[in-house]
């Protein structure tokens, strides 16, 4: 029975820089890393950590000058988390994207989920994906309708470590 | 009724000659209609229609069979209205029942911008003598009680442009009627003959065609091949702004008559009507990509079904019987390209996108006149190829199709 919760205020920081600089940019502790494009990476962290992530990344990319930008996108995307057995069954009902193989490290992938452009992470036992805040209501409805058939439960956002990437 | 029992010869095969006064490339509705009017109106019968497949294999056999004249521009309105006039008496003239079904046509407006457009169309139509008017929800309900007028949907219907003369008819009957009419007046119909080149003399004037059965001399060559226009124009060295997009449609299994109007929604990009055979015919907008691949897609089936169900939710459990695809030769302004091409004696009847079937009759009449008199008839002058370079477009997107 998979669980569903949302993490509206997960920290989301987008870093833009030339590809080599992005390659070299370390993932802040406790954050998930999503390479969106050769010149863009997103770090998704626990709520409240955006400022720290921004500071770290800005400092790392300072040498790039105007060729780098670090942007707080926390308010722009909503994070949905499907946790537990059967998460894949829910996913199969909301997206045609083939899931990457599950492992301890998060695999990042992009595609249409819930009918909207999404950025997602797959790990053993859970699938997290982000969609635009403006369509979150719709995506929530899609999830609940799809999850109904496979016994999904909506649960409150966990108080601690909802992103679950802390080491 | 006597015609019922005699075996009728629709057309017979003949041998290809070496020369004709007029060669028409394309044995669809437009090509056969042009041949017919050449013979009937001008007594020009030394004409060959060259069709690489079978008669009506292209758009003529695949469209959603709607004829109407409620267009947006005066040029468009006059042109399509002339076609409607011709269609009204066509069954009698060609002695074939085209099963013209004058159901009445709704262009549904679901947004305030669409209401604006339909109002403008209605008034322009009436100014030019076409029966067409904007009606509100109550009148829509009276005329078409099957339509979903609930406010509890994503895009509630706000108004409709009502065009009572809007009709559907049996598309194959149109091309067969023109083909047999032309044949019995002495025109030759050649199926399985593919044009492979346009022949020119040293001055660049068109003098005939190359085919898979040898070269043919011609006084005048008309290209009426719709979706294959860019290929034929390549052969002639003529440039057009045409792009080819697939268009799909499907029919359901037949059921007892339920819908007695023709529904079109520009907001939902869908056409819905019910044929005399009882099948629901659902059409949509062109695919956004350009290709000659006519493979059916499921995304089309899905989206057009969803849109059709918004309008007529009772169709939910009807079975889709068959879907098909055709080509649309699209122009930037959604109006056709007719007449001179810059290559002397080579004329174009093209740019028919999703709006060609209803023009079959007027197209035949005017292209015949073009070929016979070598002067561009007034009715088609606005559709000249040179209008793009002159930036004198005839914008009909809102009225010609349900595209975004």
């Amino acid at each position: 029975m998979p669980d569903l919760f949302t993490v509206h205020d997960a920290a989301k920081v987008r870093c833009f820089a030339p590809p080599a600089a992005i390659d070299a940019l370390a993932t802040p502790a406790g954050a998930l890393r999503g390479r969106i494009a050769p010149n863009e990476v997103v770090f998704v962290g626990e709520p409240g950590t955006a400022a720290a992530i921004i500071a770290t990344c800005s400092s790392s990319l300072a040498s790039e000058g105007a060729s780098a930008m670090v942007v707080d996108h926390t308010d722009g995307w909503t994070l949905f988390s499907l946790v537990g057995d059967g998460a894949e069954d829910v996913f199969a009902r909301i997206s045609m994207v083939p899931l990457p193989v599950a492992s301890g490290d998060a695999s990042f992938f992009m595609g249409r989920i819930g009918d909207v452009a999404s950025k997602a992470f797959r790990r053993t036992g859970r699938i997290d994906f982000m969609t635009g805040m403006e369509t979150s209501r719709h995506v929530r409805e899609v999830l609940e309708h799809a999850g109904h058939a496979v016994g999904m439960h909506a649960v409150p956002t966990p108080d601690t470590n909802p992103i679950g990437a802390a080491r | 009724m006597s015609g019922l029992f005699k075996g009728r010869t629709w057309w017979k095969r003949t041998d290809l000659k070496k020369r004709y006064d007029v060669v028409i490339i394309g044995g669809g509705g437009h090509g056969c209609a042009t041949a017919y009017y050449l013979a009937k109106n001008f007594g020009i019968t030394n004409v060959a229609v060259l069709e690489k497949n079978y008669i009506g294999a292209g758009g003529t056999g695949r469209n959603t069979t709607i004829i109407r004249s409620n267009y947006r521009t005066p040029e468009g309105i006059r042109f399509y209205e002339r076609s409607m006039e011709l269609f009204r008496g066509l069954s009698q003239e060609l002695d074939i029942n085209m099963m013209l079904s004058k159901l009445g046509h709704f262009t549904l407006a679901h947004t305030d911008s669409s209401v604006r457009v339909q109002r403008e169309r209605g008034e322009t139509n009436r100014l030019l003598g076409v029966d067409s008017r904007l009606i509100g929800v109550e009148e829509i309900r009276e005329l078409c009680p099957e339509l979903n007028l609930s406010r509890d949907v994503a895009f509630p219907i706000q108004a409709a442009l009502y065009h009572p003369p809007g009709s559907v008819l049996r598309h194959d009957a149109v091309v067969w009627g023109y083909a047999t009419g032309a044949y019995h007046r002495g025109v030759e119909l050649h199926q399985g003959v593919e044009v492979t080149g346009i022949r020119k003399d040293s001055t660049g004037k068109c003098v005939g065609v190359e085919t898979n059965e040898g070269p043919i001399d011609a006084g005048v060559v008309i290209s009426a091949v719709a979706g294959w226009t860019t290929s034929v124009c390549d052969m002639a060295g003529v440039r057009t702004p045409i792009t080819n997009h697939p268009l799909q449609a499907f029919v359901t299994e037949p059921v007892k008559p339920m819908l007695h109007k023709i529904l079109v929604s520009a907001s939902l990009h869908v056409y819905v009507s019910q044929t005399d055979r009882g099948e629901f015919l659902i059409g949509s907008e062109i695919e956004p990509y350009t290709t000659f691949n006519l493979r059916s897609t499921f995304t089309f089936t899905q989206h057009s079904s969803a849109n059709a169900l918004d309008l007529v939710p009772q169709l939910a459990r009807l079975k889709i019987m068959r879907q098909w695809t055709g080509y649309c030769d699209m122009t930037p302004d959604y109006s056709p390209i007719m007449g001179e091409t810059g290559v002397e004696n080579f004329y174009l009847d093209a740019g028919w996108g999703t709006w060609g079937f209803k023009a079959t009759a007027v197209c035949g009449e005017t292209m015949a006149q073009m070929a016979a008199t070598q002067k561009t008839p007034d009715l088609i002058a606005p559709f000249r190829l040179s209008r793009f370079a002159d930036e004198q477009l005839v914008p009909e997107k809102a009225a010609a199709s349900v595209s975004h």
Binding site: D9, F16, A66, S67, M69, D72, H73, W77, A92, R93, M96, P98, G132, M133, E134, T135, A146 | G3, L4, G7, W10, Y54, S91, D95, N97, L100, S101, T111, D112, V115, R116, R119, L127, A154, F155, T180, G192, T252, E253, V255, K256, P257, M258, G278, F298, Q302, S305, A306, D310, P313, Q314, L315, A316, R317, K319, I320, R322, Q323, Q392, P395
Partner: protein, 881 residues
């Protein structure tokens, strides 16, 4: 209720019954009346291919009784007959056969002209096979995506063997079957083999199965769509490779009387007798053209019918059967509403069941859709009957090939067939051999033309029964055209029925986008309307006039969070924007902003908005609500084309935006911020970073609605807090939230255009009097070349402001404009201005009449064109306050 309600009578059920089986057992022999001639039809294929058993079940029309599981309480009725299928009054049409030859409808009703419109309503009423329930509404079915490495379609011996072979080669496999495996097969060797293989497949960890799941089409991808009616799911399968093992069926044999109830295909008869135990009649004849058919003799006998003869061709070894063998073929069937005898080998044999075990052909519909896709065919589906061993071998080889990555499938040419000289070729459309012969002679001399003229293959069977026979008859009549006539007609999906509802399952439809303030708006009584793909406030409690008045006289506040917003950076940001926009960007100092147009290459206006220079080479851009998504890729495409290092960050959703407008706007703001927002510190057309109610904002002074206004852009999560603070601070001034309707009126009084309402796909800045927005002295920008060309032309029409006298009714938008009865233009925006006291608006008008002072007719009232005069506050004093 333990049975089904069949036209008012209770019919008992046995376990495993289909509706057809239950009805047959209780004595039903006529299952439908044919579409055109209302001929009585009985069970024929019992496999879901022919139209003979289409019934209405619980309001759903055209259900195949032979495939539909019978359930207690179902309401079943036959179709297309009145008063009943047993005694159909319309069968008189069949007696009038001679008057209704093929294509008769094209040849009749032509003269007199009034005849057709009178006759047509009757023809329409007779069309169709069942009634649509007017209360039907779509349910929202689920779509499930699957990604097996190999998909096997068909769980017979070949299909199950293929699945095991593919899984054995290490692949993940999904097997689907349109029913339960073997459910059409009588108990015996084949059934046992299937059951054994199902056991192995179910036990295999790498194989998933889903039964009662019918594939309806194979598309590019590859993508296979399948419908599971029992779970109400539509499957979207995205396999690496596909094995089609969809089995075969007997060829439709055509002879006089071939459509009589009692004439069946042998596999269908064997299913009814062997699976459902039905005694099919008293005396049966089995026509065996190939060895498999002989095995059906015993199956029929075990269920109680006497097999009186086997008709077989000379070459067939019939030593396994003990009944009389008649050599030859069946050339006619006799009977009135039911089979009474057949003619074979020169004899007439009395019988009430004829089981035709003709040659097997593949169920090739999915196959013919598979061209150029990684598909392998296996078993009977390849086009001939397979023994058990052959089927297993075929499947194993196919599964192995699929696992290895098969070549793209090339459809083989269709094998030629023969057809009898009399009888019904097309059961769906009642087209006989004679009809096709006539059509050929009349000139319909190619397969497609024949199809369209005779309508063969266009009914519910979609050619399954009749397509080969159509070709065979045509080839016989016009052998010289064999290639053209005999060419297979185009095959199209769906290959099995799929309803609109099933096709729609899981499809995204009209997704609404909302700002984070929507619930606040709704609680305040807002009605929402579409603006592009967003829902925005139309008005609060319908009081557009009140909202308007608030903005003009006091202060109003509007949620403009739907505006497209982009942060643009990267080392080439300035050069990029300079080249993208028609106005100058490079000279914008930090803190300044510029309103501008976005043009495409033709010089046409595609959007408008503002550009704020943030300093340090970065910019903040706004565009209209409908523009953002499309413009993001448009901008990135240009950056790539020019080789610019540019980052375009779409902040449309991550930032909210609120506009506070009206003479008291500053007063409200000063209560919420300690930053300087006075005229000197913060002039018009500037932007500043200020903190309002504790929320950090980028504030802009713009003039869309013609009043002093501050537009605040801030992190979207702070929207409610900021909105509440503004409303609270504004109470002292009687602040009102306002929506789109009021906003449109306000901007119209300033003559501001709305892109796509006042402009169209050909609108250049020249046509709307916005030459000031274009700087032609820039070296290059998108649209420059086109604009230079346009400048040399006289525009056919121009967008101009107009006014009507006070006291006249405001014309609706879209009203056409005429001058002396001739078309001259159209109204794009119109409103009655409360402040100015008369109707005003914008319109497209032909050049000759687009002059200041020109009089034009708008829906019967005279309007005056006013070029060069703004309506409200012409000097813009209020904006600059």
């Amino acid at each position: 209720m333990t049975g089904i309600d069949f036209e008012g009578t209770q019919v008992p059920l046995q376990a495993g019954d289909t509706i057809a089986a239950a009805l047959y057992r209780s004595g039903t022999r006529v299952f439908s009346r044919s579409f055109k001639y209302h001929r009585p039809r009985g069970l024929y294929c019992a496999a879901g291919d022919c139209p003979n058993c289409l019934v209405t079940v619980d309001g759903e029309v055209n259900v195949r009784a032979c495939e539909c599981a019978a359930k207690a309480g179902q309401k079943v009725s036959r179709q297309n007959a009145w008063p009943s299928a047993d005694r159909d009054a319309l069968s008189i049409i069949d007696k009038m056969h001679w008057a209704l030859p093929v294509g008769f409808y094209y040849k009749a009703g032509i003269k007199p002209k009034f005849a057709w419109p009178m006759v047509e309503p009757f023809i329409r009423k007779m069309a169709g096979l069942g009634f649509v329930d007017h209360h039907d509404a779509p349910r929202h079915l689920v779509r499930v995506n699957h990604h097996p490495e190999v998909l096997v379609i068909g769980a017979g011996v070949a299909g199950l063997s293929a699945a095991l072979a593919a899984a054995g080669a290490g692949k993940s496999v999904l097997v689907i079957d349109e029913k339960a495996p073997g459910h059409r097969v009588a108990v015996g060797e084949t059934r046992a083999a299937i059951d054994r293989l199902v056991g192995e497949v179910t036990a295999h960890g790498a194989i998933t199965t889903q039964w009662n799941t019918a594939a309806t089409g194979i598309f590019e991808g590859p993508l296979v769509i399948a419908v599971d009616a029992t779970r109400e799911e539509t499957l979207h399968v995205h396999p690496g490779a596909i094995v089609v093992a969809a089995g075969g069926r007997e060829i439709h044999r055509v002879f006089r009387g071939n459509d009589l109830p009692g004439v069946m295909q042998a596999r269908g008869a064997a299913r009814l007798a062997g699976v459902h135990g039905l005694k099919l009649g008293e005396r049966a004849v089995v026509w065996a053209e190939q060895p498999e058919a002989l095995a059906h003799v015993e199956t029929l006998q075990r269920a109680g019918v006497t097999v009186v003869a086997v008709v077989a061709p000379d070459g067939l070894d019939t030593s396994s059967v003990t009944v009389e063998v008649v050599r030859g073929e069946v050339t006619a069937a006799n009977g009135k509403k039911r089979l009474a005898s057949v003619v074979a080998g020169g004899r007439t044999i009395a019988c009430d069941v004829l089981a035709i075990g003709s040659e097997i052909q593949g169920n090739e519909h999915l196959v013919r859709l598979s061209y150029d896709l990684p598909v392998v065919i296996a078993g009977d589906c390849t086009g001939r009957h397979h023994t058990l061993e052959e089927a297993a071998a075929s499947g194993t080889s196919a599964g192995t090939a699929a696992a290895a990555g098969p070549a793209l499938y090339a459809v083989e040419p269709v094998r030629p067939r023969t057809c009898g000289s009399d009888g019904y070729v097309c059961l769906c459309e009642d087209v006989s051999v004679k009809d096709i012969e006539v059509a050929c002679k009349e000139g319909f001399d190619s397969a497609e033309l024949l199809k369209r003229y005779t309508t063969v293959t266009m009914g519910p069977c979609q050619g399954r029964i009749c397509a080969d026979q159509l070709r065979a008859v045509a080839e016989r009549v016009t052998p010289e055209l064999a290639e053209r006539v005999g060419a297979p007609t185009t095959l199209r999906p769906p290959t099995r029925p799929i309803t609109l509802e099933q096709a729609v399952a899981g499809a995204a439809h009209h997704i609404e986008r909302h700002t984070t303030l929507t619930s606040k708006h709704l609680s305040a009584g807002a009605s929402m309307m579409w603006a592009g793909v967003w829902k925005r406030v139309e008005a609060y409690n319908g009081d557009v006039q009140g909202e308007y008045a608030a903005v003009r006289e006091r202060v109003g506040v509007i949620d403009v969070g739907t505006l497209g917003k982009f942060l643009v950076g990267g080392k080439d940001a300035t050069a990029f924007l300079e080249r993208l926009y028609p106005m100058k960007i490079a000279d914008l100092e930090a803190g300044r902003l510029r309103y501008g147009l976005l043009l495409e290459e033709g010089g046409v206006i595609i959007d408008d908005g503002t550009v704020c220079a943030l300093g340090d080479g970065r910019y903040y851009i706004t565009v209209t609500t409908s523009g953002a998504e499309r413009l993001e890729s448009w901008m990135l495409d240009w950056a790539e084309a020019w080789g610019h290092e540019v980052y375009v960050v779409n902040q449309t959703a991550s930032l909210g935006a609120i506009n506070v407008a009206g003479p008291q706007a500053r007063a409200v703001l000063e209560k919420l911020t300690s930053d300087a927002v006075d005229r000197e510190s913060f002039p018009y057309i500037r932007h500043r970073q200020i903190t309002v109610a504790g929320v950090p904002c980028l504030a802009m002074r713009l003039g869309f609605v013609g009043e002093l206004a501050y537009e605040l852009h801030f992190p979207a999560s702070q929207a409610e807090r900021l909105w509440d603070a503004i409303i609270e601070a504004g109470k002292a001034f009687d602040i009102r939230p306002f929506g789109l309707m009021a906003q449109r009126l306000l901007r119209l009084e300033k003559g501001h255009i709305i892109v796509a309402q006042d402009t169209d796909f050909e609108t250049t800045p020249w046509k709307v009097g916005m030459e000031w927005a274009v700087k032609l002295d820039k070296p290059d920008f998108v649209g420059k070349a086109a604009l230079l060309r346009h400048q040399k032309r006289t525009d056919r029409e121009l967008l101009v402001p107009w006014v009507m006298p006070a006291g006249t009714a405001c014309p609706p938008e879209g009203t056409v404009i005429t001058v002396n009865g001739a078309l001259s233009g159209r109204v794009t925006s119109a409103w009655h201005s409360p402040t100015l006291g008369h109707p005003l608006g914008l319109a497209w008008v032909v050049n000759a009449h687009a002059k200041d002072g020109a009089a034009v007719n708008v829906g019967g009232t005279t309007a005056t064109v006013r070029v060069g005069h703004a309506f409200y506050d012409p000097q813009g004093e209020k904006l600059r306050a």
